[in-house]
Amino acid sequence: MLDPEDGIVPRGIDALKTRLSAIRARQPDLEPEMVTEVVRAVFQTISDDLTAKEATLLREVEELGRTIATAKAEIAILRVDDITGHDIPFATDELDAIVDHTAQATHAILESCEMLDDVSGTVSGEPAAKLQAATTRIYEACSFQDITGQRITKVVTTLKTIETKVAQIIATFGASAVEAARNKEHDAGSDALLLNGPQLPAHAMDQSDIDKLMASFE
């Protein structure tokens, strides 16, 4: 770690500036692309003047540069842009299609069930009671489509959040955009934080739990 009080850094920078000025004076038409070459030349000329700390710092800076270059190469190999460009859109489209198909199938079932319900009104006694019990059970069972639809919507929302965050990471390698997105989620509405959707059975309250809670308010 460099100690600014020992004067090494200012002395090194001053020496660098002096030598850069001298080079510029000798080469007034210096092109920007020649800067790297000039700096390299300056470092070469001052190499004998570097202290041990300056040499260590230089090696660390070079190592940091190599690490960044390696990380960029590894990210490119991973093709993380495939996640946002293909994988997640494909997955969400598939899930949307599942919701559409189950909705269509459920409506077809309900239509048939409504016909049976109408028939139950034309008969009496035990057959009517049996028909109505059966149709009631079908209506109850068809609510699966609402529950699965909400679960799939939660998954799609999660995938889209991942997609957005991956895009932000690719674009910025920073946290500020992610933080902004998180704040936006929290501003979505007064009861937005209460909209959790269906709970998994292991964590959910059933109707008897709800009844007990409601009764506790009386």
Binding site: A103, T106, H107, L110, C113, E114, D117, Q132, T135, T136, Y139, E140, C142, S143, F144, Q145, D146, I147, G149, Q150, G189, S190, D191, L194, L195, N196, G197, P198, Q199, A204, M205, D206, Q207, D209, I210, L213, M214, F217
Partner: protein, 128 residues
């Protein structure tokens, strides 16, 4: 107390499948005057322009949620005593607490059965 099954009932859900299921279940327990709304704003408009005896609403809707609809109903002088049942998949304690604080009459968690629906309607309208 006898329940007037000829009353108008408003069912609110953004899932057409659920509207259809609830409508059919209500028909089986002889509530035949049923109107539908697909979101909170639509429901509020129908409630203000109509004569309803019961609201059965989902919670998770956009742009106005069922909870916001309930709050609007309770803030409206003409509607504030309207029996209001929430039918929702939101089953966390904080949801039930928030709904009760907003003045919900009863709370049914999805998936539900016909017997639960009938039981809650009788409780709510029996106290109305």
């Amino acid at each position: 107390m006898a329940i007037d099954k000829s009353m108008n009932v408003l069912i609110v859900d953004d899932y057409k499948t659920m509207l259809r299921i609830i409508r059919n279940l209500l028909k089986q327990i002889e509530f035949n005057n049923v109107e539908e709304a697909t979101d909170g704003a639509d429901a509020l408009s129908k409630l203000r322009g109509g004569n309803f005896g019961l609201v059965i609403s989902d919670w998770n809707m956009a742009p106005m949620t069922g909870l916001q609809l309930l709050q609007e109903v309770r803030a409206d002088n003409r509607l504030k005593t309207m029996p209001f049942i929430m039918i929702t998949a939101e089953s966390k304690t904080e949801n039930v607490v928030a709904a009760k604080a907003a003045g919900v009459s009863n709370y049914i968690v999805k998936p539900f059965n016909a017997e639960t629906l009938k039981d809650k309607i009788e409780k709510v309208l029996g106290h109305a």
